[in-house]
């Protein structure tokens, strides 16, 4: 996913922001079912690779859409690509 934000943020800020949005929209149960974690974080490019359960991909997409703030600053996020393996993902996006 790519995060567009005018100010700098950390991986922890991103995780908290996604958790807040996921909890508001899906509740604690839905959030825990998503079972996602940040695998790689490229803060200089504003990109992160997230891993989640296969049946929670759409839930995570929806959570990403509803993200409005990261570290208290206005932000937007969108899913660049989803894939089953990190290798295929990095190959498709051209990043290593």
């Amino acid at each position: 996913m790519r995060i567009v934000c005018d100010s700098a943020f950390s991986e922890r800020d991103l995780i908290w922001a996604l958790s807040d949005v996921g909890r508001d929209f899906f509740g604690l149960a839905g959030l825990s079912q998503m079972s996602y974690r940040v695998v790689r974080c490229y803060l200089n490019r504003g990109e992160a690779v997230l891993k989640c359960r296969m049946d929670s991909v759409d839930k995570l997409r929806a959570t990403t859409t509803l993200l409005t703030h990261v570290a208290g600053q206005p932000a937007a996020a969108f899913v660049v690509r989803s894939s089953g393996t990190i290798k295929a993902l990095t190959k498709a996006t051209g990043h290593q």
Partner: protein
């Protein structure tokens, strides 16, 4: 490969840097067609410059207008004057009577029921509706939790009613800057969780708005005489 459309992008008038950011981000998000939407009364030079900014990024641009009539007479006057100048016409229905008239007028492409507060008013607007219903993701990206909860409830009702009354749905971002733009597949995912079937939500960000734009372009170019009627001109020798 699917063609994704965001039929409701509201570039801020005169802020060309923000418009360029929006155009750049729209391309990165996988959008092929963008509908730039303006309120009535904007100068055509501003509309053209916005169109050029988005076009320069390789996006196909359709220009639309939002009508906010106060009464039935004003709605019909505005439709008569503006219908043949824009590729998309949306009516923001401030009350039930306007919603009923707008939804049954074939000159209206999209209606918005954001200001309708009751289930009954939404139902009366969507019964025998000839237009498509537009659902904006910006209604969910609201500042307060209470406003978001109210919008969620309203959107769920609109989805149920649209399915019951067999009304087409179009999903858009309603973005006013780069931060409020959203990717089409991501928007479709949100509405899937609000009760829309997955294939319907994907069509709402691709096929449905595209068909609307194509039909209006055909009509505005003079190749179409009405719904399902194509003009074939024969050269006289």
């Amino acid at each position: 490969m699917k063609t994704f459309v965001d039929i409701n992008v509201k570039p801020p008038i005169g802020e060309y840097r923000v418009q360029e950011q929006m155009a750049k981000m729209a391309g990165q998000m996988g959008l092929s067609v963008v509908g730039v939407r303006f309120p009535s009364g904007i100068a055509s030079s501003e509309i053209e410059s916005s169109r050029e900014i988005f076009r320069s990024r390789g996006l196909d641009v359709a220009v639309g207008i939002d009508l906010v009539p106060n009464n039935r007479k004003q709605l019909l006057t505005q439709l008569g004057a503006l219908r043949n100048k824009f590729e998309i016409v949306r009516v923001i229905c401030s009350d039930t009577k306007i919603a009923e008239v707008a939804s049954r007028d074939s000159r209206v492409d999209l209606i918005s029921l954001e200001h309708q507060k009751s289930f009954r008013s939404r139902l009366s607007a969507l019964c025998n509706c000839k237009s498509a219903l537009e659902l904006e993701i910006s209604r969910l990206i609201a500042p307060s939790l209470k406003a978001r909860s109210e919008s969620l409830k309203a959107l769920c009702e609109e989805i149920i009613l649209a399915e019951r009354c067999d009304v087409d749905i179009v999903i858009s971002s309603g973005a006013t800057n780069a931060i409020t733009l959203r990717a089409p597949r991501d928007m479709a995912s949100v509405f899937t969780f609000l009760g829309m079937p997955k294939d319907v939500s994907l069509k709402a960000v691709s096929n449905k708005p595209l068909e609307l734009i194509k039909a209006n372009r055909d009509r505005l170019s003079g190749n179409s005489a009405g719904s399902g009627v194509r003009l074939v001109r024969v050269k006289r020798q």
